[in-house]
C-alpha cells in the first residue's frame, strides 16, 4: 500500500466519519424541527416533553425503535429481508461522499461526482424493491413495484436537471461546479432561464427520489398501510426511516451545491453557508410535504414523461445555447 493510497483511504475514512455523523446529527435536529414546524402548521404544539422544547424527541424515537422486538415474517425471504435496510442506509449516505461542504470538507473529490451522485441515487431503488419483494406481503410488493415505476419516471428529469449545471460549468465534478459558481454566479440566479427552472426540476425529482409528498407513492401509508416497510420492525424500520431522511438531506446538499453555489457566500465561512443552504432546502421539502396531497403513480409517470422530460431537454439545450452564444457565456 503506497502512501498515496493510504492517505486517500484515511482521508475518506476521517471525512466520511465526520460527514456521516454530521448528516445524522443534522437529521436528528431536522426531525425535531420538522415535527415542530408541522405542528405549528397544523395548529398543534409539537413535541414538548423530551428535553427542552422537545429537542431530544429524535433521540427518544431512535432509542424506542431500537428497543423494539425484531419480527421477521415466516414467509419472508430472510436473507434479502435482513439485507435491505442496511443497504438502504448505505446507499442513501453514499452520495454525501462527493458533496463539498466547504472548499476543504469533502470526503472524495471525484472528477465525475455528478455521475456518481446520480448512480448512487438510482441505486436506492434496489433495497426498496428488495424489501418490497422479500417481505412476501402484498402491500409491500405493491410498494416495491411502485418504487420501480417511480424510479423510471423521475430518473430522466433528474439526469437532465443535473446536466444543466454541468453544461454551464463545463465540469462533472461537484466541487468544480461550485468553484465555477463561486467565481461567476449561482446557477439558480443566472442564467435565469435554464438555471432556476432546472433547480425546480431537480427539486421535484429529488422529492420523488427521496419518496416525499407529493411523490411518496411507494410508501403511501393511507393506501398501502406502510408500503415496503409494512413488515419491518425495530432497528430495520429505523434504518429505512433514517435512509429516507438522509436521502432528503443529501439531496438538499446536492441541490445547494449544484444550483446555489455551495459554500460560496459573504461574511461567513463556507461551511456555514453550505449548511444554511442545505437546511433551507431541507426545510422547504417539509413545508411541501405538510401542504400537499400525493399523486397517483400513473400521474407521476404522466407528469415526468409528458411534461418534465421535454422541459428538461429544453433546459439543457437552452443552457448549451447560453454557453455557446451568449456573449461571455462561454467563459
Amino acid at each position: 500500500m503506497n502512501p498515496a493510497t493510504q492517505s486517500a483511504l484515511i482521508h475518506g475514512a476521517v471525512y466520511g466519519t465526520i460527514v456521516c455523523l454530521a448528516v445524522l446529527t443534522s437529521i436528528a435536529m431536522g426531525i425535531w424541527f420538522e415535527r415542530k414546524f408541522a405542528g405549528r402548521m397544523q395548529s398543534r404544539i409539537g413535541p414538548t416533553y423530551t428535553g427542552p422544547v422537545g429537542l431530544l424527541q429524535p433521540v427518544a424515537d431512535v432509542v424506542k425503535l431500537l428497543q423494539k422486538e425484531d419480527i421477521i415474517p415466516r414467509d419472508a425471504d430472510h436473507a434479502l429481508f435482513n439485507l435491505a435496510p442496511p443497504l438502504a442506509a448505505i446507499f442513501s449516505l453514499a452520495a454525501a461522499a462527493v458533496v463539498p461542504f466547504s472548499a476543504k470538507v469533502i470526503s472524495a473529490d471525484l472528477d465525475v461526482g455528478v455521475v456518481y451522485i446520480l448512480g448512487v441515487g438510482g441505486l436506492m431503488v434496489v433495497p426498496t424493491f428488495m424489501a418490497g419483494w422479500s417481505s412476501n406481503n402484498k402491500f409491500a410488493l405493491l410498494g416495491g413495484m411502485r418504487a420501480i415505476a417511480q424510479s423510471v419516471s423521475y430518473g430522466v428529469p433528474l439526469v437532465l436537471a443535473t446536466m444543466v449545471p454541468v453544461v454551464l460549468a463545463g465540469s462533472l465534478s461537484v466541487s468544480g461546479i461550485v468553484d465555477w459558481q463561486a467565481t461567476h454566479h449561482w446557477f439558480a440566479v443566472w442564467p435565469i432561464l435554464p438555471g432556476l427552472p432546472a433547480f425546480l426540476l431537480f427539486y421535484l425529482a429529488m422529492l420523488a427520489e427521496s419518496n416525499r409528498i407529493p411523490f411518496d407513492i411507494p410508501e403511501a401509508e393511507s393506501e398501502l398501510v406502510a408500503g415496503i416497510t409494512t413488515e419491518y420492525t425495530g432497528a430495520k424500520f429505523t434504518l429505512f426511516y433514517m435512509a429516507e431522511y438522509v436521502h432528503t438531506m443529501v439531496g438538499s446538499a446536492v441541490a445547494a451545491a449544484l444550483f446555489f453555489g455551495g459554500w460560496d457566500g459573504p461574511f461567513a465561512p463556507g461551511l456555514h453557508w453550505m449548511v444554511l443552504k442545505t437546511l433551507l432546502i431541507f426545510v422547504s421539502v417539509y413545508w411541501v410535504r405538510w401542504s400537499l396531497v400525493r399523486f397517483r403513480s400513473d400521474q407521476l409517470m404522466d407528469l415526468c414523461w409528458k411534461r418534465l422530460t421535454p422541459l428538461g431537454l429544453g433546459l439543457v439545450f437552452l443552457a448549451a445555447a447560453f454557453v455557446q452564444y451568449w456573449p461571455g457565456g462561454a467563459r
Partner: protein, 120 residues
C-alpha cells in the same frame, strides 16, 4: 486519479458501519419476547388470513415506460461527455447534439401519439 475512488470506498465502509452498527446496537438493547406466537410471524394483510403468497405473477403496467427509461438514460450518457466539452467543440457539437435529441424526441412524440407512455 484513483485516490478519489479510494476515498469513496473508505466512505462506504464508514457508512456501512453506521448501517450495520445500528442493527448490532438493536441486537443488544432490543426486547425479546418470552412467548412466541405463530400469529406474530404471519404476513400482515389487514388482520385477515393472507390469501396466498405475494410471490406471484404481477402485472407491472409500465414496461414500455421502463424501456423508454433505458433509452433516455443512454441518451443522457451520451450527453454528459458532450456537456463537459461543449465549450471546446463549439457550435458544430451543439448542432449535432440538437439533431440527435430532435431525432430522439421524434420517437418520443411517436410514442406519445401511440399512447405508449400511458399507464396501461
Amino acid at each position: 486519479m484513483h485516490s478519489g475512488w479510494l476515498s469513496v470506498f473508505a466512505f462506504l465502509v464508514v457508512s456501512s458501519l453506521i448501517g450495520f452498527g445500528l442493527l448490532a446496537a438493536s441486537r443488544v438493547i432490543r426486547v425479546r419476547s418470552k412467548s412466541d406466537s405463530p400469529l406474530k410471524h404471519r404476513t400482515y394483510e389487514c388482520g385477515e388470513e393472507p390469501a396466498g403468497l405475494a410471490w406471484m405473477q404481477f402485472h407491472a403496467r409500465y414496461y414500455v415506460v421502463a424501456i423508454f427509461f433505458v433509452l433516455f438514460d443512454v441518451e443522457a450518457v451520451f450527453l454528459f461527455p458532450w456537456a463537459v466539452v461543449l465549450r471546446e467543440l463549439g457550435s458544430a457539437a451543439f448542432v449535432a447534439a440538437v439533431l440527435f435529441v430532435v431525432v430522439l424526441m421524434l420517437g418520443w412524440l411517436y410514442a406519445l401519439r401511440k399512447e405508449a407512455l400511458q399507464w396501461q
